[in-house]
Amino acid sequence: MNLYGVRAIYLFEMARMWRTLMQSLASPILTTSLYFVVFGAAIGSRMGEIDGISYASFIVPGLLMLSLLGESISNASFGIYFPKFSGSIYELLSAPVSPIEIVVGYVGAAATKSVILGLLILATARLFVDYEIMHPVWMVTFLLLTATTFSLFGFVIGLWADDFQKLQIIPMMVIMPLTFLGGAFYSINMLPPFWQKVTLFNPVVYLVSGFRWSFYGVADVNVVVSVAMIFVFMLICLSAIWWIFKSGYRLKS
C-alpha cells in the first residue's frame, strides 16, 4: 500500500479546493441560499405543510442533496479529467500507485469537499428556516454515503469524458432532471399514482427520502430501501471503475 501516494493525491486535490474557494464553496452556498429565499421564504409561505412539516423546512434536506450530488460529481469528474486533458496523467500512470489508491485519493478528496459543503449549506439554511435533525447519526451516514457514491460516479464520468462537453453533459442532462424530479421540492405522494410508480425508478428519490427521514422521521419510501439503493449504486460505480482500470479504457492505449 502506497500511503504516501494516496496522501499526495488527496492533499493535491484538497489544495485545489482551497485555491478555488469561491467556486468550490461560495457559489453552491449562494445558489442554495437563493433556493431558500425563493422556495422557502417567498413561495413557501403560501404553501401548506407537507407531512406536518412547513414547506420551507421540508425542502432543506432535498436542497442539500441537490447540491451534494452536483458538487460531488463535478469535483470528482474534474479532478481526474483535468490531468487527462493537460497530459499530466502520464505521471499517475507511471507511478507505483494501484487503481484502488488512485480512487481513494481522488474520490476521498471529492467526497470530503462535498461533505464540508453539505455542512456549510446546513449552517446557511439555519439563517433562513428552522429545522430539526431527528437522527443525527443517520443524517451523517447519508451525507457520507451519498458524497462518496456520487463522487465515485463523477470519477467514472471524468474517466469516460474525452472533451469538456462530455464532462458537462451527464450532470446537465441526467443528474439535473433526476434531482428536480427526485422529490427535493415535493413529496412523491403528491404525484398522481402513475407518476408515483415511474418516480420509483429514479435513484435520487431514495436519497432524498432517506435523508429527509433522518431530519423529520418521515419518508416517501422505506429508509432501509433507501440505504440499500445507495449501496447498489455505489457497487455499480465501483464495478465501472474496476472495469476501466482493468481494460485501460480511455486511460491507456
Partner: protein, 308 residues
C-alpha cells in the same frame, strides 16, 4: 555487465492495428547512458511508455532491476523517473506543489532538502512559488525533469529531452545527465539529434518500424561503420576514370571536377599514396584535397535506409 532493464520479445499492437513494437529484445546496462535513435514514429516513445507503465504491452516481458513491470509494478515503477516528450504539466499548480505531489506519488515522504537542492540545480528555486503556466517553455521542461528526479530514481528516461530547447538549457541538461550518471543513475534517452547521442551516449540502439536494428557501443558503432573519404578537386575536368584506376573505389562527380575515394579507416593500408602516384602517372593534377569521416548521422541514415 549487469543489466538493469531486460526486455524480452516485447510486442505492442495498438487497437488501430498499428504494430508499434515488433519483438523487441534489449538489455540496458546498469549505470550507462543509452541513446535510442530513430525517426519519427519508429516506436521510441511507445517502448518507453511500455516500460514506464503508460502503455500496456501486447506480449513479452520487461524486468526493471529484476521486477516484472506488470506483476511487480510497484517495485519496478518506483525505480524509474520519466521526463515525457510533451510539456505535460498541471498549469495552475506552483512548482513546489507539483514536486511535493510527485515525490509523494512515488511513495516517498516529503523531503524539503532534496526538493530545494533539485530546484537550485535546475535554476528553478526562484520560481518555486510561481504557477507553472507562468513559466517559459524551457522552465516548464526543467520542472518536468525535477518531477522525474524528485523521488531519487535509479533509472531516468528522457524522451526527446532537448526538443525545442535553447542551446544553454541543452548544455545544462547534458551536464546534468553526466552528473547523474556519475552518481550511478542509468539514463535512457531518445533523440532526433545525432550529435546529442554522439556527445552523450555510451551505447546506441537504433529503432525503426518498431524493430531494434543495431545496438552497439558508440565508439564501436562509429568505428565499424565509419568510412573516410578523400576528395580531390582536379585542375582539369575528367571525362571518365582511366581504365587502370577502375579497380579503386573511385567516383567522379557529374561535372568531372571532383574525384572521391572511399576507404576504410581501420585498414592498415589506406592505398592513398599508391593512388596519388597513379594519378600522377596519368597526369591528373589536383588543386585541392580533403578527407572527411562519416558522422553518426550518416551512419544512422544508412542504417535506417537499409532497414526500410
Amino acid at each position: 555487465m549487469e543489466s538493469v532493464i531486460s526486455i524480452k520479445n516485447l510486442n505492442k499492437t495498438y487497437g488501430t492495428g498499428l504494430r508499434a513494437l515488433n519483438n523487441i529484445n534489449l538489455d540496458i546496462r546498469r549505470g550507462e547512458i543509452f541513446a535510442l535513435l530513430g525517426p519519427n514514429g519508429a516506436g521510441k516513445t511507445t517502448l518507453i511508455s511500455v516500460i514506464c507503465g503508460i502503455v500496456t504491452p501486447s506480449g513479452g516481458t520487461v524486468l526493471v532491476d529484476g521486477h516484472d513491470i506488470l506483476s511487480d509494478f510497484r517495485a519496478a515503477r518506483s525505480k524509474i523517473g520519466l521526463v515525457p516528450q510533451e510539456l505535460a504539466n498541471a498549469p495552475f499548480e506552483s512548482v513546489l506543489a507539483t514536486l511535493k505531489f510527485s515525490r509523494g506519488l512515488f511513495g516517498k515522504p516529503d523531503n524539503p532538502a532534496i526538493i530545494e537542492k533539485l530546484l537550485r540545480d535546475l535554476s528553478l528555486w526562484d520560481k518555486r512559488h510561481e504557477k507553472i503556466m507562468a513559466l517559459s517553455g524551457g522552465m516548464k521542461r526543467r520542472v518536468l525533469i525535477a518531477k522525474a528526479l524528485v523521488h531519487e530514481p535509479e533509472i531516468l528516461f528522457l524522451d526527446e529531452p532537448t526538443a525545442g530547447v535553447d542551446v544553454e538549457l541543452r548544455h545544462d541538461m547534458w551536464d546534468m545527465v553526466r552528473d547523474l550518471r556519475a552518481n550511478g543513475v542509468t539514463i535512457i534517452l531518445t533523440t532526433h539529434y545525432i550529435d546529442e547521442a554522439e556527445e552523450m551516449a555510451d551505447r546506441i540502439g537504433v529503432i525503426n518500424n518498431g524493430e531494434i536494428g543495431v545496438v552497439e557501443d558508440k565508439t564501436v558503432l562509429m568505428n565499424k561503420l565509419g568510412k573516410k573519404q578523400l576528395t580531390l578537386t582536379l585542375q582539369q575536368p575528367l571525362s571518365n576514370i582511366p581504365n587502370e584506376l577502375t579497380n579503386y573505389p573511385l567516383t567522379l562527380s557529374a561535372d568531372g571536377n571532383c574525384l572521391t575515394y572511399t576507404f576504410d579507416v581501420h585498414q592498415e593500408h589506406t592505398g592513398i599514396p599508391e593512388l596519388l602516384r597513379k594519378l600522377g602517372k596519368h597526369d591528373i593534377d589536383f588543386k585541392d584535397l580533403h578527407s572527411s569521416e562519416s558522422s553518426l548521422e550518416d551512419i544512422f541514415v544508412s542504417l535506417v535506409k537499409d532497414k526500410s
